[in-house]
Symmetry: C2
Subunit: 341 residues, 2 copies
């Protein structure tokens, strides 16, 4: 494959849903550099990942349209004439999905139909790459997990993300709207939401280390995960968007091997030169939806696209810490006064 | 297990959603005979399966509440004080789900959250048995299909039914609301909707045979399915509702072995003494979402509950034909004048 997939984007019209969010904005940076004509759609729902600071430095090289992906007529218009849609808009908090399952349903499940129906009637020639999640697997029967593992989510968020992914495959197979899904494991890096701890632990741990606070690890910290640096995740999207061999299929996009929570926190404190680790009991609410050890086998995606998670964890953590140290105020304080939600 | 599960229902308060429909009304007959206190909830949406004639002869031995399972406050009230909920309300047309995916989403996916949230806050001690479907498997990788087969639906209906099923499992595991799902294959028998052909082929074939019309078989008729007589399906629900070994799990409920479309139609015409068979090309719209050959391995459910599909196909077809011959006008004509939908 070499780098031909990068040339593919020069001059192409690309839409990124959730484009002001963590992965979306990092992907947008790559796309702008590759010469793509980039439109970001984001609803800036408070407490989700969208942040206008995420496009600082590239804001004049792309278009931003504030809209909700649940709104059909908006999407009918916005999908038109795009060559590729990177479909990343979503509600990512597992805990929130158990407290308010309807909002999660609307955003992760129904909105996918909205986007795909918009494409069906307004741009059936488009290619869509969906941001799936390893959460759809639930507890792993064996490790590493490949795509033949049963889909058996442990929480409402995982269910709705699974349904959203299945819609993409059905629209690919039935309506010919080329689509695929990347089942991402734990992605980390600059521009992730770190204002609260309901969107995954790694960004939150980084914030605690930088602020010289105590990182609480549930249980004994032996739990395994794999981690993907956001630049590598963005590269995975670029490959999937350009390579039609991916159409109609799902692919794990995981890290280079398992890392325990304990090891991650230790590396993080060392890299930051601040913070400390404390081991505490699992909160019941989190234990009930926890998936246990997990790490992915990404060989199917590597085989199809040549992708590899190129960034070592130490390098990625170092770059992430440096980013947040430089811009912490943009990510930890409220940027606006209180307002109606 | 013997028949202890039948005694379980004496005097118990039981709710059946979709209770005026095909399987729901047959289940209601069994429940009434077993001495249960039965409440049927149905919305009587035109073109769905609800039919007041389905409870003729038992209407004075149960309660009927016309309501939509999507309506939260109705469900909050109706689930209270029930020992068991048989959750059968659904949109069952695959073709309709591809034309209008949102209605299917609302009824098969969102409404399941409505019911489960109603239980979570108003009756967490209830047991829920969900009517799942073999459609969640999509194309079979190998036959017969057991529950270790991947969930990979071929249409929007299958996706939303899968999500609805997953919600039940998550609410069982996280909130302790005992629930399980029966993945039904092709169920047939008295009281099925036969007014149009968008809800599965078998009821429609039966109508055509009775009316001495031509049964159109797509392709060469070699496609395999398995068939469950509705009394056996009702018995499966009764067992799953009474037996806590089923909680938190999914079970295939299939027929006694594979039968080709050709064989089914031939048996049907013979049993009816009327009708004929014609082989035609697959309509593109149906071919696109067809799942190919399918028959289920139900040994997991047999092992857990002692259930068996007791009714031979010939007997079931005979009883079904006799039923519709006696009551055809109640199932093929519009019972009401045109009205707003």
């Amino acid at each position: 494959m070499s780098t031909g997939y990068l040339d593919f984007y020069r001059g192409r019209s690309v839409l990124v849903t959730g484009g002001l969010g963590f992965i979306g904005s990092n992907l947008a940076r790559r796309l702008v550099d590759l010469g793509a004509r980039v439109l970001l759609v984001d609803s800036l729902i408070p407490d989700y990942g969208g942040n206008l600071f995420n496009i600082e430095g590239i804001a004049d090289r792309l278009q931003v349209n504030i809209a909700d992906v649940r709104q059909q007529s908006s999407m009918n218009h916005l999908v038109r004439d795009r060559a590729v849609i990177f479909n990343l808009a979503g509600q990512v908090s597992h805990i929130d999905s158990m407290r308010d399952p309807y909002s999660d349903l609307e955003i992760n499940c129904r909105s996918q139909l909205t986007i795909l129906e918009a494409c069906r009637y307004n741009n059936p020639g488009v290619k869509v790459v969906f941001a799936g999640t390893r959460q759809v697997y639930g507890h792993a029967d064996s490790l590493p997990v490949d795509e033949r593992h049963l889909v058996r989510p442990t929480d409402v968020n995982g269910i709705n993300k699974a349904a959203g992914e299945y819609y993409h495959l059905v629209y690919n197979n039935v309506f010919g709207i080329r689509a695929c899904s990347l089942r991402l494991t734990n992605v980390y890096g600059p521009r992730q939401l770190i204002r609260h701890n309901r969107q995954g632990f790694i960004g939150w741990f980084i914030r605690l280390a930088i602020e010289d606070r105590t990182i609480q690890i549930y249980g004994d910290g032996s739990q395994l995960r794999d981690f993907v640096y956001v630049d590598d995740a963005a590269d995975a999207f670029l490959r999937a968007g350009a390579i039609d061999a991916c159409n109609g299929d799902v692919f794990n996009v995981g890290g280079d091997g398992p890392v325990s929570h304990r090891e991650l926190a230790t590396q993080l404190v060392k890299a930051a030169g601040s913070g400390r680790v404390e081991y505490v009991e699992w909160p019941a609410e989190k234990k009930a939806i926890d998936i246990g050890d997990f790490y992915a086998d990404s060989s199917k995606f590597r085989g199809a696209t040549g992708w590899t998670p190129a960034t070592p964890l130490a390098d990625g953590l170092g770059a992430t810490i440096a980013f947040y140290r430089a811009h912490l105020s943009r990510y930890v304080t409220e940027s606006r006064p209180a307002e109606p939600t």
